[in-house]
Symmetry: C2
Subunit: 467 residues, 2 copies
Amino acid sequence: MKINHPLRNTAFPEEGAAQNELALFTDLYELTMLQAYFDQKMMEDAVFSLFVRRLPKRRNFLLACGLDTVLSFLENLSFNDESIAYLRSMKLFSDSFLNWLGRFRFTGEVRAVPEGTPVFANEPILEVIAPIPQAQLIETFVMNQIHLQTVLASKAQRVVSAARGRPVVDFGPRRMHGIDAAMKAARSFYIGGVAATSNVLAGKRYGVPVTGTMAHSYIQAHEDEAEAFRAFVRIYPQTVLLVDTYNTMEGIRKVIALAESLGKGFQVRAVRLDSGDLLALSREARMALDAAGLNKVEIFASGGLDEDSIQELVDSNAPIDGFGVGTSMGVSGDAPGLDIAYKLCEYAGKGRLKLSSGKPILPGRKQIYRVEEHGKDVQDIITRYNKDNPGRPLLITVMRQGKRLPPGTADLKTIRGHAQDQIARLPFRIRQIASADPPYKVELSASLSDFQRKVEQEVSPWNLEEF
Amino acid sequence: MKINHPLRNTAFPEEGAAQNELALFTDLYELTMLQAYFDQKMMEDAVFSLFVRRLPKRRNFLLACGLDTVLSFLENLSFNDESIAYLRSMKLFSDSFLNWLGRFRFTGEVRAVPEGTPVFANEPILEVIAPIPQAQLIETFVMNQIHLQTVLASKAQRVVSAARGRPVVDFGPRRMHGIDAAMKAARSFYIGGVAATSNVLAGKRYGVPVTGTMAHSYIQAHEDEAEAFRAFVRIYPQTVLLVDTYNTMEGIRKVIALAESLGKGFQVRAVRLDSGDLLALSREARMALDAAGLNKVEIFASGGLDEDSIQELVDSNAPIDGFGVGTSMGVSGDAPGLDIAYKLCEYAGKGRLKLSSGKPILPGRKQIYRVEEHGKDVQDIITRYNKDNPGRPLLITVMRQGKRLPPGTADLKTIRGHAQDQIARLPFRIRQIASADPPYKVELSASLSDFQRKVEQEVSPWNLEEF
């Protein structure tokens, strides 16, 4: 696959809506609560933690992603006149509240794990510390973006892992959930180890390598497959030829005939198989190409692939040099949604939680320490944030008073390298696509457990006593 | 749930990218093929059909959606200077091609089933007739949007069907795949029968009713749940109170105590249960509320719901008056991706297809006739487009020479009404959420079958013969 564009880093203000109306991308209850906080003069600092309650089936970890989008959003968050006018038309909000909302800015602090860091259940991916209306309003956007990008990066990492070194290319934009998803996917996939995308706009915006050659329609529009190959190769000598429009092995024979007729002028890099039994066809194609002296022509496979079918092909030593993966990676077919939550865990200096069954919260600001043994990360400890612990602390302060702290946005290639490095430090069983047994060990520190019990006891009496 | 805004129809130019760069939201191979068509002077009319190859498991039909977005895109499609400059930087394209691309407009014809029409496997949702470069370039965007919106409308319809008349509210924006998905979801869900969304920006843009009241964090931020209820009701007397932050039945008792203390001033519309055994809790809550004379206070349920859990609750006569549905509907959990295809079926007046195993194409322009018996739709017949047949033709011409035909965009409420009407005409077994046995009958007309065989024979000899 040809890589067409060098990496570069581009700030990107909008996310599926014009920047100046993005403040309205929120659940209505955030705004009704905001008015209540405003009326009640509840403006003290809140701490919200963003975390995933449990990993999806068969998943051993998630790859955190999406922080850059969140920080850009927070730096630019404000309500324009048109947004305020719309809210006024709802007849739910007072003039004094709307005037205050017109001056709304995010002035808080954000602590987060860097993009491309593996995370586990209940670990804070991000904590927001800000006056409660600010930390509350941003819930919908922050969850939406961290969820999306973490879902996608995590899925991509599995596909890349299954391909064991063979490049994986993102063919998914046509079946991803909308334009924003397809754009963020190209970036998240790249962080997760994908080599390139077919999405041209993602190349322009993020500098992700872009690739692609031909579809069936091009072949079909010609009277003859061999003629289509000849015409395309005249324009793109080093292209990848799609050979399964009518019959894969006939397609291969036409490529061979083309090579014979072009002689030294034949520079086709690869053939692409897009249907049928990819293992059998790749073997047959490899033999035919090799027999014709075309050992350098690679075989690229696509068509309904996911991490399981790729692993099977790789385990069977299919002579496939690269994979194009679409829908299954693009929508994270086995786990399109995570049980992600953004929960109040401190207000006005006091730890907070809720007791709703099956949905526990760890109170207060927290830190994650990742503990290493013999060069591998072996367990995490979630602690209260000011407690020192052995291991590397993962949450770092990335925004203060509404501004990104230096070094600001990491370069995309750096984030990708960080992901690769951090994944390599995980135990072998955790890096596999099958369920790890035992799973990665994550513990609460004694001080956090004690604090959780203390807050539970504080909360319970006045909420559980009979009236 | 309160409905806060009247319906209105708003044109919406951007889809997750600025309008003026949307032309680059395409797979790179579309552009490499375009340059080949340009070089080879292949500019004759092509017909592409968009269809779903097979229905997802357990699905009896799909609800077509997304046409409005596609038509807006086609009307505005062009490459701005910055996009051309980016393409030039890729060093893949000639100056003469890029100059031509700078003048690119969509001037073709679109035939489509109206939004909100039930469709089945292999039925064209849309056909594009345009010079091949035009019909080719738009593939990625057209598929992305019809796929997304059809996935979402179809899923929503199932959830609404399971709720049997009880309102369903979209709580999903935080876990949908990006901003574009969340925006289109609010619109698609409304077409599929959902009553309202929590997404404020969707209310502003599409006029979908917006609703929402309070989250756990509001309760947690107060020292006492009862105090939080009192404070919120002071501002929003007719609100819905969330009662499960600490203990659902304790929460209910606090609502009752509040009613006693407020007397006639108590106007709370509903309580919301968000965790635990919703059947048992709704019964217990209903009894407690009724015993306190609060028969008018409704019970609203949310928390991990999908069509199956809702059907179970409804079948068990759970006293629940409405449902808030998030992730499962928002990502279409059971079927996040469809096997959707956009395939060349005619070029330069000749039927085209491919023979790739398991991926057949119906050649030429087509029509779908829906046949009625005793007031119910009982089967569809896919025909060649100029063949008259019994039944209602479903594909209508909506764009000619790149312009929408009158009446242009239907009002959202009209589309919703159309969907409701068309779904009601389906046989009972097809409208159920369980797999229908037998499935809805879809046949090819004799003339289309004959044509398919004829094109197969034309295609085969020169593609299958040995070199």
